[in-house]
Assembly symmetry: none
Homo-oligomer: 224 residues x 2
DNA sequence: ACCCATTTTTAAGAAAGCATAAAGTACCCT
DNA sequence: AGGGTACTTTATGCTTTCTTAAAAATGGGT
C-alpha cells in the first residue's frame, strides 16, 4: 500500500527528475502539468499528498491550493522559486502544510513528505475495538476491560493489523508483509510465535477468545 | 492591555514616523537605534513584537534576529531595503515571521503586525500542564510544584512539543522535525540526550515519572 | 483410532534499542 | 584570548525484544 503522490509541476524536466526519485523511494507518483488538471486530479480522492508548484499555467498554484482547501484537507507541500518569498508566507497562510524553495535537495523534500504524511496519519487518531479490547493507536495503548495491557512494538503492530481487518482471515504471509515488511527473507514462524504472545497477554490473561486460528489459512479476530 | 512593540531602526526620521502611526493605532512603542541595544531590549521580555531593520549599526538586523532566536520565539517583522532579496530569504529562514520592504505603506505594515500578533496568540497564551508540572509558553517558564525549573531553549521546545501532544507517542523523527527542523542532517541521538536532560531536571529532581519511553516507537508524557 | 500436517509452546542466542557519561564543537560574553 | 553555556557526537554497557529452532500438542481425514 504505497502512498500516492500527485506532482503538479510544469517544468517537465524537473517533474521527471522528482518523479524518478519518489518512485525509487517506493511512492506511487502521478503528474499534472497545469493548475487546472492538477486541481481536478487532486480532488479525485486518489492521492495522499500533493506537491504543488506555485508558478503554473492555467491556474496558479496559490489558486489551486485555495480551491482545493474549500473541499479537502489533503496535505499539500508548495514548491516555490528561490526569491518569491512572498509566496512562502501567503502559501502557509492559505493552508499549505509546508513549502520548499527550488532548487531543493531531494533528501529535504523526502523528509518533508514523510513529515506531512505522518502529520496526516496522526490526525486520524483512531480507536479500534473488539469485544472488551480497546486499542488507541496514537497513544499506543491497549486496554481490556479498562485494564492496560503492555505490548511490545511487534505485538502491537500485529494486533493492530488484525484489528484493522477484524473478521477477515489474514494469512501468515499477509501479516508478514504488513507487520514485518515485504523484504522479509526465508522461512520463519515469527507470526505463530507472536500470535502466541498476544494470546497469552490477552486471551489467556482475561479468559476469553478473540484470536482464532483458521487451520490451513491464517488468523482472525472475531468478537463472539 | 495594549500590545508592546519594539522598533529597532536607526533612521530616526522613519522611526519617529512609524512610532507615531503605531501609537495612533493604540500600540505601546519603544525604540532602539542600534542592534546591540535592540537585542538587549528584545530579550527583556517586555515586548509582544519586534520591528527590526536589516541595516543597523553595531550589530546587523540579521545578527540580532539570529541571537534573539536562540532564546526566544518573539514575533519579528524585518524591515528591508528595496532590492535586498537575499535578506528577505535568509531572514525568513532564520526565523523572522514576516518582512516588509522599505518604503512601505503604513497600512501594509499595520496589516502585517496584526497578522503576526494573531499568529502568536493562536500559538500561545497558553498554559500546559502534566501532573505537578506547569508550562507557561509565553513566559517561557516551567515550574514543578511551584518551584521554577531552568530549561535551555532546546529543552524547553522539546518539553513543549511533548506537552502539546500529551498522551500521544511521538517518534524521534517527529520530534526532530518539530524541535530541530527539517534540515537536520545525518544520524543523531540528540533527542535521546535531551530526553535525558529533561528527565534529570524534572523526573529525577522531583521524584516522579512523566516522560515515558515506548520502546521501538518514541517518547510520551503520561501523568499517571 | 491413528497418522500426518499444522499449529502451539518453549527456550536460548542474536540483535536492536536505549540510557548514560563523557568528549567534542560552536558560539557568545567579557 | 579564555571561560562559560548550550548543543552535538561518540562510545559503551545494559535491557528488552526479536528470531530461530526444535519439541510438544492438536486436529481432521480416512
Amino acid at each position: 500500500m504505497a502512498e500516492n503522490i500527485l506532482l503538479v509541476e510544469d517544468e517537465e524536466k524537473l517533474a521527471r527528475m522528482v518523479e524518478m526519485e519518489l518512485r525509487y523511494e517506493g511512492y506511487e507518483v502521478a503528474k499534472a502539468f497545469d493548475g487546472r488538471s492538477g486541481l481536478e486530479q487532486a480532488l479525485s480522492g486518489k492521492y495522499d499528498l500533493v506537491l504543488l508548484d506555485i508558478m503554473l499555467p492555467q491556474l496558479s498554484g496559490m489558486e489551486v491550493l485555495r480551491r482545493l482547501r474549500r473541499e479537502s484537507d489533503l496535505p499539500v507541500i508548495m514548491l516555490t522559486a528561490r526569491d518569491s518569498v512572498i509566496d512562502k508566507v501567503s502559501g502557509l497562510d492559505s493552508g499549505a502544510d509546508d513549502y520548499i524553495t527550488k532548487p531543493f535537495a531531494i533528501e529535504e523534500l523526502l523528509a518533508r513528505i514523510r513529515a506531512a504524511l505522518r502529520k496526516r496519519s496522526v490526525r486520524s487518531g483512531k480507536i479500534l475495538t473488539a469485544g472488551d479490547l480497546v486499542m488507541d493507536v496514537e497513544r499506543h495503548q491497549v486496554t481490556v476491560k479498562g485494564q492496560s495491557v503492555e505490548l511490545t512494538k511487534k505485538e502491537f503492530d500485529l494486533l493492530h493489523q488484525l484489528l484493522e481487518n477484524k473478521g477477515r482471515v489474514l494469512t501468515r504471509e499477509a501479516l508478514l508483509d504488513s507487520v514485518w515488511g515485504f523484504d522479509f527473507v526465508g522461512e520463519t514462524n515469527s507470526v505463530d510465535v507472536y500470535i502466541r504472545f498476544l494470546r497469552s497477554k490477552i486471551d489467556e490473561a482475561f479468559g476469553f477468545k478473540l484470536i482464532h486460528t483458521v487451520r490451513g489459512v491464517g488468523y482472525v479476530i472475531r468478537e463472539d
